[in-house]
Symmetry: C2
């Protein structure tokens, strides 16, 4: 049977697959920082070339931002669109990395082999599981068991500014029966999950201005308003004592999850202390009275992702600064309209400005939450394939993160997305010392090979 041969080939070819992933990981494709624009393009070019070598009709498409990779296979069968992203998060604080983030290596961690590099898990390692699965099918059988289009983005970590126009302009070319997205994690050790519920994301940057120039706190302290005082007051008002977000209308329209789904989630045995323990925490910080999984999967959040103002270098400077800044994001759930909430947030902040202070806003993305219709048979085929590969049975789960592309696939291309990935909670994505388990990479390739095999069964 050809699947067994494909899986054997994957096992035998793992070192070469890893070497190819390392080549991609060496390219510092940080999309949010213009200093790395050339490297983002280089990563797109590398993938285009690899896919061409595999027989795809692969092109690197320019956008006003970073380019998109689009690659069409010429095979028959059900048509799926595979999505991943080849850009990565910044690496600061660099001094907390144990090695160069762009010099990948295999290391031991807690008894397991891991691939260490920025992007190893998010999302270069994950997208390469699919490409390597395609490679194995091609090598073993000369073709793919399905009609595959591969679509890889270079702006996922910087708000995807070009994605919507690109999908709109290329809707016909990119529309398939269903999308496969590999940018999520396992539910637990050896237990895969298919995410059917995703939080949205609203990003805002605010700058509070007090005095026209930086002042000396000796000369002006006590009589001049300090914008850090104003900013910290506003941010401290984001949550009340019970963790409830205070922006007016924030919870309007949010449905409670169904009793069935709640029961299923309760059955997953999620333990906040077990989840938080590895990162040094133990107390769920969300709304009082909600379960840990609700806090992460079905309830919205407000987080300050960055704050800065005044003197932040070594030593001390008694400055009373002119400006103070913060980056704030909201994880959104079904029922919340990001654009309306952006307005509500801005009005709420503005109303808190004292007479001598002004505030400016800068938007950073606005993606609604997503909820999948699992009716298309590819969902159940994927669930079966994953259950065949992994020790645990695959489950339909929620996800705290935002994968806005799944929402756009639905609204612009009319496709649901099967969100399956092999990351682990301790992968440290977006953090120093990011890693991807070699097991995730290996079983990930085998998982997609099995999914492709199931698709051919019709």
């Amino acid at each position: 049977m050809s699947l067994d041969a494909v899986l054997s080939r994957i096992d035998n070819d793992l070192d070469a697959s890893t070497d190819r992933l390392f080549d991609l990981l060496r390219i510092p494709s940080i999309s949010t920082d213009p200093a790395y624009d050339g490297d983002v393009k280089k990563a797109g070019e590398w993938l285009t070339k690899e896919l061409s070598k595999l027989g795809f009709d692969a092109t690197l498409r320019p956008t006003p931002g970073h380019p998109m990779v689009v690659a069409h296979g010429s095979d028959d069968g059900p048509h799926v669109l595979f999505y991943g992203h080849y850009d990565v998060q910044p690496v600061d604080p660099l001094d907390l990395w144990d090695r160069d983030p762009f010099d990948p290596v295999i290391e031991e961690q807690n008894g397991a082999k891991v691939i260490r590099a920025r992007g190893a898990s998010d999302d270069k390692g994950q997208l390469m599981t699919f490409i390597e699965a395609c490679r194995a099918w091609k090598a073993e059988t000369g073709k793919l068991p399905a009609k595959v289009t591969i679509f890889l983005e270079g702006e996922e970590e910087s708000g995807s500014p070009s994605l919507v126009p690109f999908l709109e302009e290329n809707a016909k070319e990119l529309t398939a029966e269903v999308a496969l997205i590999c940018d999520t994690g396992l539910y637990g050790d050896g237990v895969p999950g298919i995410v059917t519920q995703l939080r949205g994301l609203l990003g805002e940057e605010l700058t509070v201005t007090g005095p026209r120039i930086d002042l000396h706190s000796g000369m002006f302290g006590g009589v001049a308003m300090n914008p850090i005082r104003v900013l910290t007051k506003v941010l401290s008002n984001l949550h009340d004592e019970d963790g409830v977000i205070q922006v007016p209308g924030f919870y309007d329209g949010i449905p409670e999850i169904s009793p069935e789904l709640k029961a299923q989630w309760d059955g997953l045995g999620f333990n906040p202390e077990t989840f938080l323990g590895p990162v040094g925490l133990s107390h769920p910080a969300g709304e009082r009275g909600r379960t840990g999984l609700e806090m992460i999967w079905s309830r919205p959040t407000a987080e300050v992702n960055g704050i800065w103002g005044g003197y932040t270098g070594a030593g001390f400077k008694t400055v009373l600064p002119s400006k103070a800044h913060a980056k704030v994001s909201f994880r959104l759930v079904a029922g919340q309209d990001p654009h309306r909430l952006r307005e509500n947030f801005r009005e709420w902040v503005l109303a808190q400005m004292p007479p001598d202070c002004s505030v400016e806003f800068k938007p950073h993305g606005a993606a609604p939450a997503g909820m999948m219709d699992t009716g298309h048979p590819v969902f159940e085929k994927t669930r079966e394939a994953l259950s065949d590969e992994w020790p645990g049975e695959a489950a339909y789960i929620g996800c705290g993160g935002s994968i806005p592309v799944a929402g756009y696939f639905k609204t612009i291309l009319g496709m649901d997305s099967v969100l399956a990935g092999f990351g682990k909670d301790d992968d440290a994505i977006h953090s120093p010392n990011e890693k991807y388990d070699v097991e995730s990479f290996h079983r990930g390739i085998r998982s997609w090979a099995r999914v492709l095999g199931k698709l051919a069964e019709g």
Copy 2:
């Protein structure tokens, strides 16, 4: 009469005096940043050499930090110790400077000639007024009209860590009848002031730690505690709605100023709107019910001088950071014990930590407030000399800033300090585009020449 000849010489020599100041301003002696250690030393060496050329017995004295300049004149008459500091504040944000902060130039500003450079006003321009006054007396009469010791520090902008041990070790050598300190400003346009009341300064840096590592706000947002949330909550609690500082015991032991002094201050015609207007503000931000001069001169403050945490670069990063930091300072007044208040502040912050967060503190200086005994005749001689030079009559005033050295001169050397300087409110000290009026420099030199002349009158 020799004073007139000295004053004429000062007028004729002004260009050369300015050139010498420019040489000193070109040395980037930023004491708080270890990257500039060599430049701080270079500035000390330059001054030692200049004072030697003027006939002083001048030496550069090593300390565990930056060196001290000590220079003894060999002349007779009342013994005064002149103090200034040759280090400067950092220059960030550099992009708000219109030119290189260490390339001094004379420019026009609002119709007046100004010397533009970091340190032009604070304190290189000011300390050079005294040195140039000595130079003119020497050149004209061959000697100084008083016994002068010059003591110049290189750590004033970084908390003066070596000052107390140095004063203790060299108490005999540095003790004079009275100190002259040139590090303050005019009271108003053409109106000099002698500061007899100074606020102290207590500096603290705090770091709140939540999760052990930076987290992804999608995966952990809502369930993991964000240290920025905790830090902003603590800082927002520093002041209540009336601007009253909430640290327990903060106001204990603070006397109200005497009705006489309050009447004198009310008579100065201070207008908060006029004072704040040039920096773009109009509303006094201190304790409700206090006058503007009380807020600056006789009431304590709490200011956040710097805050940082999470992602602060270009673009957006949905990080939930491990740590958040702030630099906080308190301006202190008579009756407040900085060491006790540091403990009170730390206990108050600690009590606000939620279960999953910890806080670390780093001290940055602790100097009590100062109040001068104006009984020594040098006070009144200086007031007369300043009144002779400037259009307005000199007044005894308060000062919002901290000049800790005046407190140490009192407690360690038993000397009161005559605090007279020629800075203006719009000098932008500690800010971009710092300047010193050419008039301040010129009349400043003439002022000290007059003071020295008065001292000789016995």
